[in-house]
Symmetry: C2
Subunit: 141 residues, 2 copies
């Protein structure tokens, strides 16, 4: 799986650095859709000299070469997802976590939109909002 980023980076003329691989690894290993700062914090132990600027520059490159997608679920910051497949997300309005919604069928919806709009569509983002199971418990008291 590292192979793929390595090759893609080289192909596109980017250098393969430990920082870039580390950032991609984080994203590939999590389902939490971290923001730049979350990635930065998670790298602190193993890369104490990692710079936030490097995180930002790297996710931009990763997006450019198609290895990650960028989310904006109505927060102030962006989130990054190594799962580049089209899938809806749900954000907890209480704690802010963002989860995947898997195995949802929405091609009918997308096709209907495509057939009814005169836009040339290139993508879409589906965000659901609500309260996650954990916060339902703690709010229940």
């Amino acid at each position: 799986m590292d192979k793929e980023v390595t090759n893609l980076l080289r192909e596109k003329g980017f250098k393969v650095t430990p920082q870039r691989l580390a950032i991609y690894k984080i994203l590939a290993a999590t389902k939490s859709h971290p923001s730049a700062e979350m990635i930065f914090n998670e790298l602190q132990p193993s890369y104490p000299t990692m710079s936030l600027a490097t995180v930002y520059k790297t996710v931009d490159i990763l997006r450019e070469i198609g290895m990650i997608q960028v989310l904006n679920a109505g927060e102030d910051s962006f989130r990054y997802d190594a799962d580049t497949s089209d899938h809806p997300h749900v954000r907890c309005l209480e704690c802010g976590r963002v989860d995947d919604l898997n195995n949802i069928e929405f091609s009918g919806f997308v096709n209907e939109v495509a057939s009814k709009t005169s836009y040339r569509l290139t993508g879409q983002q589906f965000y659901f909002y609500g309260i996650c199971p954990e916060c339902q418990k703690s709010t229940a008291n």
Copy 2:
């Protein structure tokens, strides 16, 4: 239609001011989902002394009383829509305009998500991205 805002404002204990009515009128009369600054600019001719702060405070109140909904289509700023019905939006990646997608059936999609997630859902936002007809023409050269 002004009647409705007027009454609602009074009911909720807000004063009815020309500024508030003017801002709502703009939103009710357009399908362009303007941001606070766009509203501000559009009001310049008729309300040269209108303050951006007033626009922000007013849209917040209008949202609170349920007369408008707030959109965030992955831009830096928020957009406001007097059409409070649930409907998808599409944003042009070229010129930035945001359009409605009307008469789209998505209740099946929503129901499927609701039945498969353990979140307690309270809402959703569907954003499509692409190139609008106008920009398709100008990019075609």
